[in-house]
Amino acid sequence: MDRRTFVKTGAWLTAAGGVWPWFADPGEERRAIAIFDPALAASRAFADDAARAGMLAIDIRDDIGELWYATLAPRLARASAPLVGVLRASDFFVLKQLAAGAGHVVRHAAQESAGRAMAIAFVIDCASPFTRHEG
C-alpha cells in the first residue's frame, strides 16, 4: 500500500467529521459498511484501513447501481448501518441520489482532486428506508 495515499485518505475522513472514532465501536447492529473502488488508489488504501477497523469492505465491481439494488438496499432494509467510502465523483453522485431517495442522509463528504478528476470520501447515515409492498 502507498503510505502517502493511506495517510491522505485517513486525513480526508478525519476532515470529514472524525468518522474513524465514530466507527471504532459501533455495536454489531450498526457496523459500518465500507465501499471502495479498486480502480482508485486512494479507495484501495481506504478499504485496507476499513477492513482493519472491522468494517465490511465491499468492492463496487464496476457498477454502483447494481451494488445498491442487489446488495446495499436489501441489507439496509434489514438493518440500518452507515455507509462510508471513497469513490469517483460520478459513482458518489449516483449513490447519494439513491441513498437520499430511500430517505438516508449524507452526513459528510469531502473531495480530493487529482488534476480536475475528483475522488469523494463520504459518510451516509442510513435509517428508515421505504419498504416494498407485497404485490
Binding site: D63, W68, Y69, A89, Q97, G101, A117, F130, G135
Partner: protein, 525 residues
C-alpha cells in the same frame, strides 16, 4: 417557496390536509427534503434554479390517496408535478416546470402487480425501477428479459411515459406498453384498452380495445396520472451475440447509417443498435484530462491520439443479435458482409448463451441487464460533472446523420464543448443524443451549456429537425418549434388540457402545455 397565488396560511392548511391523507412523514416541505427534488444538472446560474423549485412534496401509497390529494389540489388551486422516481436527469430530474408546484412523488407505489411468463408481460406501478423489475424476474426464475435504458435506476412507467428507449429488440418502450390505469384531474379512474372490461384478461395483451385508443395521450403530457402500466417483456433468447464495429474515419458516419438502415428495416438487426462517437466511447473509461488539458473542444490531434491509445473507433457501432444459434450465425454473416464494405471497418463479436451475463454497462444493457455505469460520463470534464442533452430526431439516412453531426459538432465547439454524442437506431428514424457535459460548480461552463442548447435547438429547427424531449428550461421552446398552421398542435393539446383539467392542477407547463389558469407562465418560445 409557495405555490403561486397562495398565502402562507392557506398553504399550511393544504399541507395539513395532505398529511391527513398520506401521513405526516409523507409530506415533505423542509429545505433539506426539497433539495432532493431540485434539478442537480440545471443548465443555468444558481438564481435561476429557483425557477424550477418545488414548494413541497407529497408521497401517496395508493390510487385512493391520489384521488384525495387531487380533491385538495382542486380546492386550493395547487399545481401538482407528478414524478415516478424523478431521475429524468439531463431533462430536469424531479423538479417541476412551474415554480411552487407540489411534487406528487409516486415512488411509494412500487408494486410489481403481475408477471405473466407465458404471455410475456408485467403490470407495474410507477415506483418500480428497472433494477427492481430485473431483480424480481431473476429472483422468481422467470425466463423473461426487461429492456433497460442506459440508466437502470429510472422508473419503468416514467421512462416509458417519456418515450425513453433501451437497446434490445424491445427498445422502443412506448411501443411495448400495453394498458394503463390513469387518474384524471377530476379524480376519475380510467383503465385503457381492454382494461375497460373489469373482469377481463386481455388488458396487457391488446392495446386498442374497442377504441378509441388513448394510451399515447398520457405520454409526454399532463392529461392524467398514470398509476399502473402493462409492459411487454422479451422472452429470454436461447443465445445472443454482441457485436462491435469500429470505424476509422469521421466521414464514415454516412456509410454506417446507409448500411445499417436496410438491416434494421428487414429485421436482420432487431435491436436499437447504437452508433457512438469516439468521445462517448472514451468517456466511459477515462477522463478528458488524460488526453487534453486545454480549454475549448479537444483538437483533432488529441482526439486521434486518444482513439489510437484506447483502440476505439472514430465511430463505434454496437449491435446485438438474438435467437437460436443457427439464426444468429446467418444474421451475423449478413451483417459482417454488409459492414466489410466500409473501408477500414474492424468487426468483432462475442456469442453468449441466453442466460449468460456480459460485463460492462453497455453490453449488459443489450442483454437486458440494468446498469448505472453510463453516469461515468460525468467524470469526463472533471469537477462536479453534470450534463444537459440535445435530442433531435434524425431521419434514418446517412445525409441527415452527417448534417446533424456537423451542425452539433460545430456549434458545440463554438461554445467550448466536445462532441459527446451518438445515434440510437430505430427503424426509420434515429435518436440523436448530444450531451453538453459541464462542471456544475463552474458558472461559466454551466451558462455556456445553457446557451449552447438554445442555439442548437434554433439551428436544428431551421434545418427542419425537432427534439423528441427537452429539459424543463426548453420545453416551451421545443413545443413552439412544432409550429405548423400557427401552432395548431399545441392549440389542440391545450384544448384537451382545458377540457380534462379545467383547474389546471396537473403539471402545468409540462411539454409546453399550459392550462388556461397558468398560460401567462409560458416561458421562452
Amino acid at each position: 417557496m409557495l405555490p403561486p397565488n397562495l398565502s402562507d396560511a392557506r398553504f399550511s392548511q393544504a399541507l395539513n390536509r395532505f398529511a391527513s391523507i398520506v401521513g405526516g412523514p409523507h409530506v415533505l416541505a423542509s429545505a433539506d427534503d426539497l433539495a432532493t427534488y431540485a434539478d442537480p444538472f440545471a443548465p443555468s446560474p444558481e438564481a435561476q434554479v429557483q425557477v424550477f423549485a418545488a414548494s413541497a412534496a407529497v408521497l401517496p401509497a395508493s390510487v385512493e390517496e391520489i384521488r384525495a390529494i387531487l380533491r385538495v389540489a382542486r380546492a386550493y388551486r395547487i399545481p401538482l408535478w407528478t414524478i415516478s422516481t424523478g431521475r429524468n436527469f439531463a431533462y430536469g430530474g424531479a423538479a417541476p416546470r412551474l415554480a411552487g408546484s407540489v411534487v406528487l412523488d409516486l415512488k411509494r407505489m412500487n408494486r410489481i402487480l403481475e408477471v405473466n411468463e407465458a404471455l410475456a408481460y408485467a403490470l407495474v406501478e410507477p415506483g418500480v425501477t428497472y433494477f427492481d423489475l430485473y431483480a424480481h424476474l431473476r429472483d422468481k426464475g422467470y425466463r423473461l428479459w426487461i429492456d433497460p435504458p442506459a440508466s437502470g435506476w429510472g422508473s419503468v412507467v416514467g421512462n416509458t411515459l417519456e418515450r425513453g428507449f433501451g437497446y434490445t429488440p424491445y427498445g422502443d418502450h412506448a411501443a411495448m406498453q400495453c394498458g394503463m390505469e390513469v387518474v384524471l384531474a377530476n379524480g376519475d379512474v380510467v383503465r385503457t384498452g381492454m382494461g375497460g372490461i373489469d373482469i377481463g384478461t386481455a388488458w396487457q395483451l391488446y392495446k386498442p380495445g374497442f377504441g378509441p385508443s388513448f394510451d399515447a395521450l398520457f405520454m409526454q403530457s399532463n392529461f392524467g396520472i398514470v398509476t399502473k402500466m402493462g409492459i411487454w417483456l422479451m422472452p429470454q433468447p436461447s443465445a445472443y451475440l454482441l457485436g462491435d464495429i469500429q470505424f476509422r474515419h469521421e466521414a464514415d458516419l454516412e456509410a454506417i447509417v446507409e448500411t445499417l438502415r436496410p438491416l434494421r428495416l428487414d429485421e436482420t438487426i432487431r435491436n436499437n443498435a447504437v452508433i457512438e462517437g469516439a468521445i462517448r466511447r472514451a468517456a466511459s473509461v477515462s477522463p478528458r484530462e488524460q488526453w487534453y488539458e486545454g480549454a475549448g473542444p479537444m483538437p483533432e490531434s488529441a482526439l486521434a491520439a486518444m482513439i489510437d491509445k484506447l483502440g476505439i473507433g472514430r465511430w463505434n457501432l454496437h449491435f446485438a443479435l438474438y435467437g437460436v444459434p443457427e439464426l444468429i450465425d446467418a444474421r451475423y454473416a449478413i451483417v459482417h458482409r454488409a459492414f466489410s464494405r466500409v473501408r477500414d471497418a474492424d468487426i468483432a463479436a462475442t456469442k453468449y448463451a441466453g442466460d449468460a451475463q456480459p460485463t460492462g454497462g453497455a453490453d449488459k444493457n443489450l442483454a437486458g441487464i440494468p446498469a448505472m455505469s453510463a453516469f461515468r460520463m460525468l467524470d469526463w470534464r472533471g469537477g462536479a460533472g453534470a450534463h444537459v442533452d440535445f435530442s433531435p430526431v434524425c431521419p434514418f439516412t446517412g445525409r441527415d446523420a452527417m448534417r446533424q453531426y456537423a451542425l452539433v459538432k460545430a456549434r458545440a465547439a463554438e461554445y467550448g464543448f466536445d462532441y459527446y454524442g451518438g445515434f440510437t437506431a430505430g427503424v426509420r428514424h434515429m435518436n440523436h443524443i448530444f450531451a453538453a457535459i459541464f462542471d456544475r460548480n463552474d458558472a461559466r461552463q454551466t451558462d455556456a451549456a445553457g446557451d449552447l442548447l438554445r442555439s442548437l435547438m434554433s439551428d436544428a429547427r431551421a434545418a427542419g429537425y425537432g427534439e423528441y424531449r427537452a429539459h424543463l428550461a426548453y420545453m416551451d421552446y421545443a413545443a413552439a418549434q412544432y409550429s405548423f398552421n400557427d401552432g395548431a398542435l399545441l392549440r389542440l393539446s391545450e384544448t384537451i388540457k382545458d377540457a380534462l383539467d379545467p383547474a389546471g392542477i396537473l403539471a402545468p407547463g409540462k411539454q409546453g402545455i399550459w392550462p388556461r389558469a397558468w398560460r401567462g407562465k409560458r416561458g421562452y418560445t
